[in-house]
Subunit: 244 residues, 6 copies
């Protein structure tokens, strides 16, 4: 059997979510694509979702573990200020930077920093952006036990359409393969306490289908790069995402 | 000798310039990168530069042919309205669409559509954008002799920094390889009538070096995609362009 | 039977399309909503769609008449420069202004002026915007046979998602009523020559459903006002379009 | 029989101000319009204005009570961090969310989140935006004693022209009626300690007149909606705000 | 008597208007300020205003001459396509470039290029911007009888508030001196055929007063520079325009 | 000998930096220009740079003192939260406002508020912006020992190109004079611990040369004004910054 491309690359993707279901709804499909290709992913969930209308903390953590496992990712839970209480303190950014140094990812994903959404999402996006930078600074006392780490790229994902940042050209990822769509749908459905109350899954599938139709493929996801992409040549730039 | 990657790909890059030296100053380095990798490029120059302060038409066409040859590209000259007289008529867009159908490129490059620059540049950028679309429409009578053609992507280049469009995240191309820089510099210098009067070459080299320093490489060029990039996975997204 | 609100208002909506199917795909649902409430609508189609890949002019005009009838609108065809040949000449704007003076609408709809779409769409949007203004100027010789007319508002519609203008807050129209959705779907399907080749209908239905889910209703359409709305009080401002 | 929507509607507008005079100067005219139509309004003032150059806390609270009474609104004072000391802590947002649950408004108004103004204004705008969202979340321990509440819309007002957000299309409210203008002017003048030192009243009247002239009416106020407006049909969209 | 600063400078300001009253309403106050300081200004009016609702061509040209004389400027009339018929042809830009070479201004003023205003205004703004550039190109055959000319700066003015470009930081000019305000008001009033029908003068005075209040002076005007300002030091940057 | 312009003006420029080298790299050249003209400048450095990869606190403070002396500026160090730990607390803004009241500058300079850079830079930019405002408020208890102070303008500088704010037209300062360039280069080189590890100096010199080439001068620096400039007439607006 032919090995998947890059399958020997030990540098995982590092994915942050403010609540137990943010990652699955916001970029689970991208992670499914990565893990099916033999690349690793690690999730960091920064609250227990205890302020939500539905589901106990215990249920929600179990759902998150189940969903991560469906997507083929490892998962850890981080205690910051609690659901709906997150604030953008430098001490949190340093805690997240420690995770960067421990996991040593090639790429990180975080909720977008658009402010007009759940305040925890934007706050976490900012903390991750700062953490990605602080992970490189050699003099930070709190982090001296781990060597500095410089990632290659930070992408933002949008849990809902409102969180898509204006003024940043997205990169679209093709997620049309049936096994990707199936894994993603299952991972979203694993958040039973959430999906029975609202039609979140339909929202995400409609977004992915609409982007796919625009891009001339089945389904696609928009990610928002924190920095311009540096490519080796035009040949690496893929194709433009429009067919209509 | 090992063949260059994609060397069997017959689909060239198609590059448009309003004046004989626009392509070399605006994106010659990107083309040098392509042709050194064994991929083809074709230039379409849409005036003879006869309104410029320096150089006769005859000189300037000879300089353009020489520069294209240094970059390894083929070249043709197209008569539209003349230098400093270009206007955005649909008939011109259809003429350009015919070139798309004849050359059948994978990727096209054109000057940006930012209006606060030489009016011919912005005008040509708009004509190329429209042409890329019209090339796909089956019912256009003027084009019936050639089958429709759908490209993969259109990139805009900026002849000067002012022409860089705000609100579009660029894609950076690494052009640090010494042979790329040498070919580009030689192709710019081939426009003898222009470079003796003003320090255009220094401007372009300073831009490329500044972008390279930002991106953590030697030199880089910014291209502005007309559509978001559609990629197959995170692994294809390259790395983010920041080191400072 | 209770008369529909405003049913005595003789001022119709005036809707412009560059090609025979633009109105139906771009804002047919909004018109269905108007005509079901007893308000009139009039369509002006500015080419025969003869540059498209599918369908003859004859077929396409018949499809447009059929679709307009399904939506309950009257229709006329205007000859300007022909499909894929439209240019933004003042003489065209004056021709359109004459239609404003003849139909005397309360509200007009036109394709958006975003340039990175079919060039005829943006061009027509600009012509309509200018025409709406010129219709008010008393001294225009070409229009002296008809009294000046000042409309209340111009809305832009986006034939495809790419045509949605950034930087303008849209107004969402709730189109969830089953009879609206049925009339709209039928009107789109009436463009047989187009819908068999590409999945345009699915694209529009996915857009409408996605907006509906965001707004906490079934389906919705985004229109882009040319001017801020002037309301009599907060009570007229409806509700904000977000539920997630 | 179910009462018609809004006719007996006890749901008030809820208006937040950082200092004792912000509401009157920023949107007092809109509130005058509401209360003259028999709809209720409630003010929440989040400091005593003690850092201002003029007026003691005691004076300023008395002025605010007087002004609220002129506008026909009820008023309460909330202690957060004090004038010029406000910071955007989640605990504050939760306190404000409690007020949303207690007052249960249809619409809320808050100072805009534009940062280049008095820091308390932007900070309060962000807190109110987050509070409007948190008021809906069922699991927030601090708020369990009150049932969740979902408003219909949040509008931002601009205390000064600099606070008007770019990139958001405003909604204009017609405030030309003489009794509205009189009530507003009186409410501003009630802040005696402030208006004697600077020409704040003239600034606001000039803004309202300029907007009125642009919109073809006497005076108008710009409000900035947090979400697009969802309307039932074109007929509800009012008219566009331009006459020149 | 002390000579006014720069009074020996023979390079005038060159001001373009699409209609006989555009210059006076849009930037007459700035010109009054220049000519009172002994610097010259020259107006170029590009139509006779014959499409307007009020005033004959003959009346309007007389009013324009009168207004220019009140402002201390010379004036000429240029025939392009006629009122409400202006289009952005390169041949027009070259005609305007010829005027640049003849008048040889230090600074030029033109209506802004914002499209959502009278179409002639935006069109003329674009033509002037292109003309300012073409005036420098030595090879333009149509202009060979006059030596090339490079200006120092192009400013856009906004005839109405809607024409103010977003995304460009304006430069404010202090016009509070009573003799400036008097000359400007008289020059506007000289357009008798226009000011009796609508309250244009009040609109402009309200704009100037509002800007003055914001900037901590009496009255001010916003101009929009086509290029960033190049200054010799911080000491030349004047003061920031905010007092509230 | 003729005194330098404004040399009797005792109001210094007040310049803030988050780390010991930010001022030199971000705007040292502008300060060199000021002090060579006999105007004073005072630096406030808000951390010891202890989180950086290179250099001890002791070294870095010595380097900063040396660099300030090369630039002819006085310097003080302020303890806030420490390097990479700065947060935007109102108490910090009030501390900075106290410095404004003590130094009483005409102009202040601070790092830009663009968030996608070192978090301390953006945070300090916001604190300075707020402080400049708070310095004017008479009622602030913490500041009562010093009389209120209103500056004339706040400029932001960008330590790296990424920190340049979009949507603000910069003001360019001509720094081409050889003695300015020499002083600046020496001041940057004085940060020995930093410049040996990375090519920061080359980055800054490339930026300044690129801007100079664009502006038709030797070297230039972009500053981003917090408020529009208020000028007395067109004659004060300098020239536009473009030659290509």
């Amino acid at each position: 059997m032919k090995p998947a491309p890059n399958s020997l690359d030990p540098a995982p993707s590092l994915v942050f979510g403010a609540h137990p279901d943010d990652i699955e709804f916001g970029c689970g499909e991208v992670i499914a694509r990565e893990t099916r290709a033999g690349r690793k992913a690690h999730f960091v969930v920064c609250s227990q979702g205890e302020a939500g209308t539905h589901g106990t903390s215990r249920q929600r953590l179990a759902e998150a573990r189940n969903a991560a496992s469906i997507l083929g990712a490892t998962i850890e839970f981080l205690k910051l200020d609690g659901d709906a209480h997150l604030s953008a303190r430098p001490a949190h950014a340093i805690k997240l930077a420690e995770i960067f140094r421990r996991i040593r990812p090639r790429v990180a994903l975080a909720p977008s920093v658009v402010e007009n959404q759940h305040p925890d999402h934007a706050c976490l996006g900012k903390l991750v952006r700062d953490a990605a930078r602080l992970a490189r600074y050699g003099g930070l006392k709190e982090l001296r036990q781990l060597p500095p780490h410089a990632m290659e790229q930070l992408f933002f994902y949008a849990v809902t359409p409102e969180a898509e940042p204006a003024g940043v050209t997205p990169v679209l990822i093709d997620i049309s393969a049936p096994e990707i769509m199936a894994a993603w749908t299952a991972a979203m459905a694993a958040h039973t306490s959430q999906v029975t109350a609202r039609n979140y899954v339909e929202l995400q599938l409609a977004r992915a289908r609409l982007l796919g139709l625009r891009a001339g493929t089945g389904q696609a996801t928009a990610l928002f790069p924190n920095e311009p992409l540096l490519l080796g040549s035009l040949a690496e730039a893929g194709r433009g995402a429009r067919r209509f």
